[in-house]
Assembly symmetry: D2
Homo-oligomer: 326 residues x 4
């Protein structure tokens, strides 16, 4: 079995994925997508930035839309347990010879940025401004009624290496796809917060961000979004779904924002808090791994992703095949 034993005693405690900044070329158009269509809530906005949260979140932001001349994904944000763990995290990355820069972030406490070995830009903090609960303000629910950010999914040029690194950070593999012939990992789903994943990796031209996912409780939320997008000029932004993945059991929909940043709307994963949870292995040759049921994924879904700021992607040494990819 190619996946490492889970590291149950990591050097520091990452609580969960937290947020991502997306550089967008038309802020008004992106607002129409994320706010008016998906239903995310604006927590602040300026002439060049919009901060958003989902309905059950109390942290200030899960998505930051930043006006830019070039569409790209920026730091993937993670919340650590406390300030002490934040310092331990900084020390960990320094020890690895990875860059650690302390930065100012609006609405966040002490924050540093770094990169993983493949160049994925990462951001760590312990404290973010807390807001009043709105999960019972039902008049605010709109669009797909997104409850919380759920996970990131990244293309990696070397999934074995990505999993080894994030495993050291304490991310536990819940499900994975193995290429029997090479014994290599094709894809892996890893978590911190007790769901199927906080971050997943898929073999391909990477590092690139494949998608950012939001959790909703029922497939009907997703069907409501499809009806809305199909009749408000967004039908071309529906890329794939609805369908169910074998891996993660997710009932999914993939949509593209105006710059092509991919958003997954997702329901029905499962609880993974047991430290002795056995990772589920899928064979690369099993078509239901990827699509338990539903139409085949379009080629764009296998090939397109958002580039990360300052990271040059390289091709995986495993030949990518749309038939078998993610």
């Amino acid at each position: 079995m190619p996946i490492p034993a889970p590291n149950l005693y990591p050097a520091f405690n990452i609580v969960r994925l937290s947020h991502v900044e997306l550089a967008v070329t038309d802020l008004a158009r992106s607002r129409a997508f994320y706010v008016d269509t998906l239903g995310l809530q604006v927590t602040d906005e300026t002439s060049d930035t919009i901060w958003l949260r989902a309905m059950e979140e109390r942290g200030h932001h899960c998505i930051i839309l930043k006006k830019s001349g070039k569409a790209e994904a920026r730091d993937l944000g993670f919340k650590v347990f406390d300030e002490d763990h934040l310092d331990k995290a900084a020390a960990f990355f320094k020890d690895k010879g990875l860059p650690v820069d302390w930065v100012e972030r609006a609405y966040q406490g002490r924050t540093f940025i770094t990169r993983d070995p493949h160049g994925v830009p990462l951001e760590f903090y312990a404290k973010m401004d807390r807001l009043e609960p709105i999960h019972q303000k039902y008049a605010l629910y709109k669009g797909v009624k997104p409850l919380r950010i759920d996970h990131f999914n990244c293309f990696s040029p070397d999934v074995d290496a990505s999993v080894a690194f994030y495993n050291e950070l304490g991310f536990r593999v819940t499900e994975y796809t193995e290429d029997e012939e090479t014994g290599r990992l094709w894809a892996a789903w890893t978590h911190r917060k007790g769901g199927v994943h906080d971050i997943a990796f898929t073999n391909g031209l990477g590092p690139r961000l494949h998608h950012t996912a939001f959790w909703v409780p029922t497939p009907l939320n997703i069907i409501d979004l499809l009806d809305l997008m199909a009749t408000t000029g967004w039908v071309g932004n529906i890329e794939r779904g609805p369908g169910r993945h074998g891996i993660s059991n997710a009932f999914f929909l993939y949509v593209l924002d105006p710059d092509g940043h991919r958003i997954e709307i997702y329901c029905s994963d499962y609880q993974t808090v047991d430290p002795d949870l056995e990772a589920i292995r899928w064979d690369l040759k099993d078509p239901q791994r990827q699509t338990l049921w539903g139409a085949p994924a379009p080629r764009s879904w296998f090939e397109h992703g958002s580039r990360f700021h300052g990271a040059e992607p390289r091709q995986s040494d495993l030949a990518a095949s749309p038939i078998i990819a993610p």
Copy 2:
């Protein structure tokens, strides 16, 4: 506008579509599909025949599965208002020079069979054995929890002619697709019972039965069926969906029985009882007509249908194009 004015005063009163007999080659396998998977209820069975009803139906059967060496669709059954209307119906078909044969049908009263001008086999009756209600016996609900048979959809070699004929029978067009260049009808949905359709016609190699549809209340019924089929060996029988049609607003799923007879599971049509209901026109060039959202239909969906007993299909004189068909 190519559709005829609705005939509000037909020679006799057809209440609704009622049932269809499907010739199947492996009765046990078909039972596994219709009973164990879709969840239809067996009202009687013999060594070569199974009668089925849906959960809210009180008539004895909506589907008859008949063991046969050859898979085919047989008479499309319709219920007329009373015995007097049944005689008027027989007279109407005789006047048209169409064959009228009175036949014995188990669990039905006086019944005659005939054919429409394209050879579609039809069956008319006024009385069928009535059964106890089971719609509140919730322990019996299984599979997709089908509530009632909803409609037939047929390939027609000449939709204008089909619509003209069924219009004379009192079927009212609710929605239709027009080929602007030729001014011809490409497809039409016609009803008697107050929903979007009892029978629809689509341009193509016909006459053939494209599908028989069952009504369910919510998309979650359909998702439950997909999950069940995908994990019980029926994944290959899922042909298309889920998705939403622009026409009829149907949230749909198309599955194929073991002999390739196509079944649609369907929700969210609308009430059409107003005699002055305006038919909705769709342009053949509008892709959302066919798919408001969802993956493109596979080629099989445009090309495959069940042959009718004793009817030789002929190609439509309108060139069928998978891009624009049904």
Copy 3:
């Protein structure tokens, strides 16, 4: 069996219930209820009148809110098949010695008003202005996403007499409650359009309007409305539900508008187009008749109703008992 045989050949053809005018004391407050909370669509409004339709309706109005010093229910509106049937209807009521007055109604063609033998004000017309479909304008869906007006429910001082009269009009009984001791009808549900009811009658101080119902496809619509009302100042207007009636199998919610007019939101009835449909008999002593499951109805639900304009209610000669009533 106390219910009359269905009159399958009435003197004229009523297509369906159509609309009702509700006199309200605070138009702005009523607008907040019907439009902002329930999600009905405004088709026209003036300083003292608001016309509303539901999402799949193409007729101009199903509810008319009229500013008034006194809250009351006015004419129950019904659509007949055509102008000829409208004249036959007028003749029918005249022959009964009931008042027939031809009136002007905005957005309607020729219209007359009359009363049933207990004084319920009725309105008949054949033509109403038709509007563009909006059932696929998903951006407009709000609140409970009401699809169509479904039925009226009236208190009657003599249900046997009410059923006898409406039976003569062609309304067919689908379900009824019989008081075994007296052999009298306690309540009855009667339809024209092919659902469980267009109008129902319940023993009590009558004539009064118990409620007007709207149809929605799934219980989740109703739960969304409950969440919205409970968190936007309307919690006190939730009277009863959610629950399921044995009779009609309705999944129901009853809410009160600002003047106490009762609105039912309703899903999962069944198709009743068969002329030989057997009415379902319920015993007055069967508690599941009224509540298949759910909390007991509050006393207000048994006792409160809207008075009809110009009709003095009288007590039923059957003693009403909250324990067993509707």
Copy 4:
């Protein structure tokens, strides 16, 4: 503010609630309830014991039904992080002067039992037999389709003391009800696994088990269960609901097993993994705290609970009032 600061660095790590043993007087009848009606899966059974798990669980059991002459609740089971934490847990209870007995438990590794200061019997272990995943075996889903055990709710004679003790164990308060006049806690919800609660405490005659809850994804699962119970002889076992609690935002249903053990079916809580999550305070006088919407709770719901084996309940020194209780 009466609640203690969360103890983020407890002496040992409890992962989640795990299971409970219920003593039942008629094993066959209890099987009909938990297996045939709720849809829990049997993982083993003997003449006097049935082990059950929910659909997404991989641990061997979440409910153990044990034939007994007397109905009662036995040890509340919790899973700790590893064997080392199990020993630390044992030491912790010993230090408190609480009984610690190492016991044999079928399908579990090293296990000890103890009691909290009020006498609630507790059981701790690190390892339980792991079973194959069944969450994608959709043919097995039945009844309410329970996905996992979610929480325990206990009557406590002194909620302040209970919260102080469980806080020391690392349980974090997510929501609580305060009695403004006394400044005392009326009720509190505390978690380990990242949801609203693993265990909650309510002022009353205690210690007693108020209920054990299972998580389902949508309200429709609960409505399906209501329809099933209402038509299969279990209508009398439906105690309260459906409704929504203000506290926890739970869409809930409470049903009673054949011995009166209360089971809650529950959906729509929220993620609580942030160590700086602010507990939500509710005023004892706020009626929506308990019922955001829905019928008032019956008296039995406030008064009835399951006695714990070997624990004599005592009345809380706060006067219980059905109007304001849980």
